[in-house]
Subunit: 201 residues, 2 copies
Amino acid sequence: MSNGLIVSISGPSGVGKGTVIGKLREMLPDSRSSISVTSRAPRGTEQDGVEYYFRSREEFERLIAEGEIIEYDEYVGNYYGTPLTPLLRMSRGGQNVLLDLTVAGSLALKEKFDETVTIFLLPPSMEELRNRLEGRGTETGEVIDKRMAQAQGEIADAPKFDYVVTNRQVEQAAEEIAAIMLAEACRYKRRSEAVTTLLEE
Amino acid sequence: MSNGLIVSISGPSGVGKGTVIGKLREMLPDSRSSISVTSRAPRGTEQDGVEYYFRSREEFERLIAEGEIIEYDEYVGNYYGTPLTPLLRMSRGGQNVLLDLTVAGSLALKEKFDETVTIFLLPPSMEELRNRLEGRGTETGEVIDKRMAQAQGEIADAPKFDYVVTNRQVEQAAEEIAAIMLAEACRYKRRSEAVTTLLEE
């Protein structure tokens, strides 16, 4: 059995990444998500390895030091991060894994694991990006200006990604990402077994 | 405007390449085919640059010597070949070009023009390939044995192709090739203009 794909999708805040990934998950119900690791305590019925991997602060810091955390953030005094090993395990089990990472996170993962398929989601225009950010109605003009400046910096990193998809329309963007995944599964390097089998017949 | 794709599809005799390409052309009516060049004289209403490019034997041999002919064959005393320049012209005009080439032809084109997307069409099994060759009912057992040996040699070159598609079912194989074309159009190198435009806004 060949490895599942590891597909990492990034894009600036406001581009509609969550919505596109949601649509994509509907289209590809067999794709898996990553489970984050956190240093916060489990709540209620939360189980280790289901909602999150729960680790102590010290363990989390050791995982960072070992290069096991692709990206992480601190929120209300707790770490939240994306661990590398479970992704590789799912992929080796033949499952496609879909990741929603920051631009820096996608690039770090690609650096660690070259087989990663990286996709950058672009807005149709900077004006449309601003409209979408303003449309949320939750952020001040100052925050929006900051996000726009950040978007500019992130888009400058798009050339480091394998693919670029413009989110004009959610359904179409999700279809393009699904096509990329189907195509990547047809790459010779991922289908070499089919060839070997024929030659051995 | 970005260049159209140049997509070259190869596979052993009997794999069903013609049928898959026919289905693909129905799905992608905007894709163009290459026009062959021949040393035979035009017949009836045939026009240069429509059915074929008509060239003299001497001119054809000069084109071969100049590396302008990707692949050619001689049939009943006349040359038939695939010229390079018209493909590049169609691609630069933004049109996708679909080519049906021999294995050697696809590899020669990739060598000359690295942007070519090469796809190898595989049979589901060697047994099924033999069934399909026998099913034609037009070839002797000896010819079929020869084609099977040739197929084995061609499949050994599949690792030199970008993508491998197994023709289990025509519609599905054509859909995989269409997905490859959509994905290739999303590669950063082909969408760099979208990024530049955003950064200049």
